[in-house]
Symmetry: C2
């Protein structure tokens, strides 16, 4: 076998490695090589490959043969190139040692600077720079860094020595600023004394003298970097971030350059474009006469980059050239670290710059205009977080973290992003009443139910003590893009006293709070919020997105208002219109549905349904108008009936009065509706099997609305969807009945309306028997919320208590992610693939969509793209995210848009 190359050199305008070798050289090493190659002024040095680290751990913690030789050779080469020698007493070579894996990763060893200094070479540095204080300070820093980061000596011990020196100085000094001694005020002698003390600390804690041999220092540092790859912190981080398959860390040994060698030295960080707005301006800060760690420490206020033009115009011009070069080379906004040593510019590092969502859009669109990148690349540069960032209000980012901490009340599960503030109320009724009085409120409940929807809509934000990300509260709030935190289990809510307590803090009704739906934090005060704004670049980019994707994106909405909003957000149809929310809209509707539920005979039920029909027809008319020409999938009644009736005695008595029935009759009827596991109970199409008159009314309302719209010239494409189907025969019975009612209405009105009848696939049995069901259904819509619950045997309302144990990599990592957030592709995904395969084997052009919460999750959208779905459907505020994800999937895995043959199939449907 050929001898492997373990060390890559760079310097003198040439590098052995290159930018694409991240896996071997790490991100940092690859960047240094690349910058060297394109002619940037990078200090010379060499990179030890990650393969060495890999070998080390695979071979009982031993280095590969020939490796030490190779390091020594490259060190000699560095000495030759720089003309300095390691440990030299006249002009010593000093280097920095840094870790650097293929992905940026906290938890590994920090940088060690100034390596190569010892009692002898420090004098050489002093002589060479004519700056004894600088040299001693460099030595002092090196001892501390090497001691702490490479040898694990407590930082506090070193700092204590430094503090002692400074305190002694304070005691002896006159003047007003007693007690505040800057590091820079410590003089040469004191530094020399400090070095003695630091070495003593070092010896005390390591049992050895501080190494005077620079080679020993170097190997100590290399060992430490490679050792830190398996440090607990680093392993945990990789587990948490699910970083797998890396070889290990590389080690970068680079010649030192000093930004603290006087007033013609300095160090700074800059961005090639403005990272907050994305404006095409050069943006950055620098500190003159300082080292990088001083910038981080924030001791002095840095000057703005533009001021460099005044101080050192040549350097500034050179930096501007670097900016241009890097943007052209990397074709993205860069974050650059640089140092000026004695009037000479060095580039130490460059990487893709972090940016705000606003900037992300602007930079991507601008770079397309500048022909730096293609529209496809621009699409790839945007993330779902960028879109979220544009749409939701956020807590003013200028509020210091400490202040936030002071107000922190509790932390729950971040269910819907954004922030909201207002007065807390404990009932949906109060939320409506207070809002009507012009107050902003946050609705705080143990959990919410469909009865609370009015109050939830009125509130600015919703906070619940129980439930997970797909609990009722979360799902409803998400539909409106309304900030929501759920499962905040620390909250002890007392509905009677109208208080909420955490620890000793008790908040009464009306207390002002702020909730951050992006983090799950609840604050006991009203914090200032920044409102969202949509930049022009957003519309431009989203047009490119839409041109790219093959997967359609629909939305889940229940009202004309939400439908209009969703269209503005790019929805191409409704994938799920839940009809039951309509029953809660007004008292009249609510009473009618309750009268139906309490009824003992079909006749009374039919009369109550007749009352509801005009309302439903009106709702559907509004929705069809709003969606003019776009398909609308309407799901017939789904929740168990007990969700529609009150459970408190007072409300039941009120209902009995309204319905003119004895209280005990109403109570008995409602009690009988109780279910042990309502999720698996009498709901969905099961209700229509038991009470077909409900189906009759709903289908009539849909078709009367459709025919009415059609008469007025509004195009309509209703798709009637039967939920919770488990069998082809069940579907056939209901689909036939649906078609009979629809045909009657079409005949009555004389309007020809094409419609489809299909089903949700949300019970495992339906997926297993999808071939038989496809024989009856004209479309499938995967209801992945329920399908996930049933396939995993996990109630989303209850999973909060144990799901973290399953998802958390440190505890078990059994599941890759929360299956209610991102589709469980291994399990549920397998079932879905099987169902599509079986379904399309029977009906080749079967229309397939998804209408669970997953329709707005990027990873799940990719799954849908890969498995030939026709569309995904999600809540309006997730529509842009789904569009983006669909486009990105299309770019990565091109596929043709499926022909839906809508008209053809509609005609076939009618013939049946």
């Amino acid at each position: 076998m050929a001898v492997k190359k373990f060390v890559y050199f760079f310097g003198g305008g040439k590098a052995e490695g290159k930018g694409t070798m991240k896996d071997v050289l790490g991100g940092k090493g690859a960047g240094l090589a690349e910058m060297t190659n394109i002619g940037l002024p990078v200090p010379a040095g060499f990179t030890i490959t990650a393969e060495v680290c890999d070998f080390f751990y695979k071979n009982g913690r031993k280095y590969p043969k020939g490796f030490t030789e190779e390091v020594r050779k490259h060190l000699a080469r560095l000495e030759r190139l720089t003309g300095k020698r390691f440990g030299d007493s006249l002009d010593p070579l000093l280097v920095s040692v840094r870790s650097g894996a293929a992905r940026s990763m906290p938890g590994m060893m920090d940088t060690i600077l100034n390596l190569g200094l010892n009692d002898r070479s420090v004098e050489g540095l002093s002589a060479k720079t004519s700056n004894r204080r600088f040299a001693l300070d460099a030595y002092r820093r090196f001892i501390m860094m090497y001691g702490t980061t490479a040898m694990g000596v407590s930082k506090d011990k070193f700092n204590a020595e430094f503090r002692d020196i400074k305190e002694r100085k304070t005691r002896t000094r006159l003047g007003k600023r007693a007690g505040i001694i800057l590091d820079t005020e410590v003089n040469d002698d004191e530094l020399a004394e400090l070095i003695v003390h630091l070495k003593a600390v070092y010896k005390e804690h390591t049992g050895k003298d501080f190494p005077q041999d620079p080679l020993e220092q170097l190997w100590g540092s290399i060992d430490a970097v490679i050792g830190s790859w398996m440090a607990e912190k680093a392993v945990t981080y990789r587990d948490l971030e699910k970083i797998n398959g890396l070889l290990g860390t590389a080690v970068n040994v680079v010649q030192m350059v000093f930004g603290n060698r006087g007033e013609s030295s300095g160090t700074g960080v800059c961005f090639t474009r403005e990272p907050n707005t994305g404006a095409d301006t050069f943006y950055g800060d620098l500190l003159m006469n300082a080292q990088g760690e001083d910038v981080v420490a924030g001791i002095r206020t840095p000057i703005h980059l533009s001021d460099l033009d005044k101080h050192m115009p040549a350097i500034y011009r050179e930096l501007c050239k670097v900016r241009g070069r890097l943007e052209k080379h990397y074709r993205d906004m860069q974050d650059i670290e640089f140092t000026i040593e004695d009037g000479k510019l060095y580039i130490l590092q460059c990487r893709t710059g972090k940016r705000s969502p606003l900037a992300a859009f602007k930079i991507a669109v601008d770079m397309v205009k500048e022909k730096l990148i293609t529209t496809q690349e621009a699409i790839g540069r945007i993330t779902d977080k960028d879109i979220e960032g544009l749409f939701y209000p956020v807590i003013d980012p200028n509020i210091p973290r400490e202040e936030l901490k002071r107000h922190l009340f509790a932390t729950g599960i971040a269910a819907v992003p954004g922030a909201a503030s207002g007065a807390i109320v404990f009932t949906a009724r109060d939320a409506e009443a207070w809002t009507a009085q012009g107050k902003h409120v946050i609705l705080l409940r143990k959990e919410t139910s469909p009865e609370d929807v009015g109050g939830m809509h009125a509130a600015r934000g919703i906070l619940t003590a129980t439930g997970g990300k797909t609990s009722h509260a979360a799902v409803v709030a998400r539909g409106w893009g309304k900030c929501c935190i759920v499962g905040c289990e620390d909250l002890a809510i007392d509905y009677e006293a109208k208080t909420v307590q955490v620890g000793d803090t008790v908040l009464p009704e009306g207390s002002l709070i702020t909730i951050n739906g992006s983090t799950g934090e609840v604050f006991t005060t009203e914090l200032p919020l920044n409102k969202p704004e949509l930049p022009e670049a957003y519309s431009t980019l989203m047009k490119w997105v839409d041109a790219e994707r093959t997967l359609k994106v629909r939305t889940n909405v229940d009202t004309p208002y939400d439908a209009e909003n969703a269209i503005r957000l790019g929805a191409e149809g409704i994938g799920l219109c839940r009809t039951e929310h309509m029953f809660f809209d007004t008292d009249v509707r609510r009473t009618a549905i309750q009268r139906m539920i309490v009824a003992d005979d079909e006749e009374t039920r039919r009369r109550a349904l007749d009352e509801i029909l005009p309302f439903q027809r009106q709702d559907f008319t509004g929705i069809f108008r709003a969606m003019d020409g776009k398909p609308v999938t309407i799901r017939l009644i789904d929740p168990p009936l007990h969700e529609f009736v009150p459970h408190g005695e007072a409300e039941q008595k009120e209902l009995a009065g309204k319905l003119d029935l004895p209280f005990h009759v109403v109570k008995r009827k409602i009690d009988r509706l109780h279910e042990a596991n309502p999720m698996l109970g009498h709901r969905g199409s099961r209700l229509c099997i038991t009470y077909p008159e409900i189906l009759d009314m709903q289908v009539r309302a849909i078709m009367e609305a459709a025919c009415g719209c059609r008469k007025q010239g509004v195009k309509v494409f209703p798709e009637i969807m039967l939920p919770l189907i488990i069998d082809a025969k069940e579907l056939a019975i209901l689909a036939d009945r649906t078609r009979v009612v629809a045909a009657t209405v079409i005949k009555e009105t004389g309007q020809k309306v094409n419609y489809l009848v299909g089903t949700m696939i949300e019970v495992p049995r339906a997926a297993l028997l999808a071939d038989e069901i496809a024989g009856v259904a004209e479309f499938f819509s995967f209801g992945t919320n329920d399908l996930t619950q049933m396939t995993l045997g996990m109630s989303r309302d209850d999973a909060g208590r144990f799901l973290p144990d399953y998802v958390d990599e440190r505890r078990s990592g059994i599941l890759k992610s929360d299956p209610f957030q991102s589709l469980d592709q291994d399990g549920v995904g397998l079932l879905i693939k099987m169902a599509i395969d079986k379904g399309r084997r029977v009906k080749k052009d079967l229309k397939v969509g998804i209408c669970g919460e997953h329709g707005g999750d990027p990873a799940s959208v990719v799954f849908c793209h890969l498995n030939a779905f026709d569309y995904v459907s999600c809540s309006p505020f997730r529509v842009p995210i789904a569009r983006l994800a669909a486009a990105q999937a299309s770019l990565k895995w091109p596929r043709k848009a499926r022909k839906t043959k809508r008209t053809a199939r509609r005609k076939t449907a009618k013939k049946k």
Copy 2:
């Protein structure tokens, strides 16, 4: 195409058809042909095939070409053979017309007798028999039968005329018996007058004169029989009984023979063996001078068959010969209808005789001894109902139906067969207390929970207002073979008042009731019960059964007592030992588990678990001893924790006192355990992921018991089973932990115990990923209760409200049967097949069993046999039924017993 044969003749010792032609000739027709062929004295006649009926309905209700011709030809042949002529005024040919499909089927047309009589031929019959009254009575009967059954005239109208005549006679008659006039007391003139009236009624209702042409009568009857095939009653019956694929009904036209032609005539029914005990004695009743319908009407008391020997010894001897012939021919006990006409014996019908469970076993075993049938055939003759009938007490069958009706209180779902009576109590505590005082009680609850198990055990029977056949009450009761009715929704239970009400009847605590778990009926009195007894034939037959089957049968039990009982019933191991029931056994155990649940930290939990360990170890020791040498599958804790804690305030306060904790702490902790859908909540192995210390304790208890037994020379084969697994990684984490604990105990005790670690497959995801899971599991046990619930999205506790709509053929017939009773082979079965296939692809010798309720359902046992399960496991009282079903499946679809390679795999297991 060859002309089809539509009519089959029989008579004169020869028949065109034979016994195997049931599909074409119907059961009755095939029987008549067969009996004719073997030389029995059968009246002559012909059978119109079911193919005619089939053709009729497939061709717009027209008969096939040539059919009428063929009937006429066969009629002429009958005339020739009998020497009588249709409608003859001297010696007319009279026939009966009967329907008869391949399967016996109520709802079709009744028999028409005496066809061929008219105003003229009645005189011929009168002359020929020298019995005018007989002839007129025959004509009167024919008009009524033809009018009602063929022409749909109301029976009441005819009867009213008969009543008028009789009443008039009463008014004019002297004597004491006024008002009671027997049919036979009506004289010739009155009969002649009655015939005039009956014909008038006929004309009034049909608009036509009563047909005088015998051919018209015949065709009217044939039309009516064929028409009755599609009568609503018949169609409904076929739907209900799921009778499919029949061609239609045949029509039997047979020469009349009369049992009412004087004292040397008679008619009767007999069985070739005693149908109650199975004794090899000739058994039957007959009425002299009577027609079949008189026997049915029960007007006179019949005489016993043995008396015939005195009356007509020759006929008796002939009948005994027939008995011998038929048993030899059909090789089963027969039920024979016969008529004696003027001293000549005719056999009218024979079919396999219905028999009691006791008789079924005795006859089957006796016939093997007599070398009439093989042991395999004997096995095929026994049904699951026969076994059930042997094991459960039943209400004295001699109590008249009317009396039962008077006491009927309500009807629920028959969950566990048998009957029980006792005083009603409303709490488990009362059940225990009253039983301790020597009373028999029936526990009446809205529903039961694990807390009630003690009281359930004490009660004689269990009755609940809610729940289905697999609700908690039903499952627990079934385990004990204890009579149980569930889902008796009419019961309005008032726990406070301790009363139960249905309609206006209110029963207070202590009222005596009887429940019939085989029918679901509840009676408001104490009815006498017959205790079960096991005959010798049972043991003999079950030995044959065990020799035949390849599927093993285990049992689901939780206590040493039940284990011993199950072994007596033939169990070959334990397939499911639920460990949580052990937690409720005593107050000390209950408190310990509750202390664990309320604990906030692992330390407290571990201490509480330490208290439980000795109890669990003791239980397992008992079970291992009872099962000496047989495998024992132990499932670790499964139910959600809230099932272990009290939910009433008083009980919670009591618990707080016991645990020395503030009430609000206990209450809060318990409140937090509340789940929206506990079936899909924090239970099963999820508990061990969150609280691994529970697993540690349980595995330690199992292994300490196992090693302890082993030390005392008891063979032990523990199979540790992890419930509700959804992922291979989840199982791996828990299986590894299990093996670590087990290895520790083995090391501590120095006893080598082989054990397996496997999983229940009860969540759809586990079935879908069975290949991955098989990589970790040493066995699969399908938990079909939960798998059914999740696959169908149906909570068994709630399904009672809508499942009837799904199973009832008249309402929808979506499901073939209750999926919690008999495995849903289409849906859940598909998933199981897939899982076994995937599992065995990875691990060829993977042991596979089933431990859901379905393990005791015969159809599901057949499914398990066909899909290469190693064993089924069911409640002890279902074990004999499962053994039988397994043997019957083996006979029908032979397969080799799978090699389990237990020892081999156990060794592999240990190495891991």
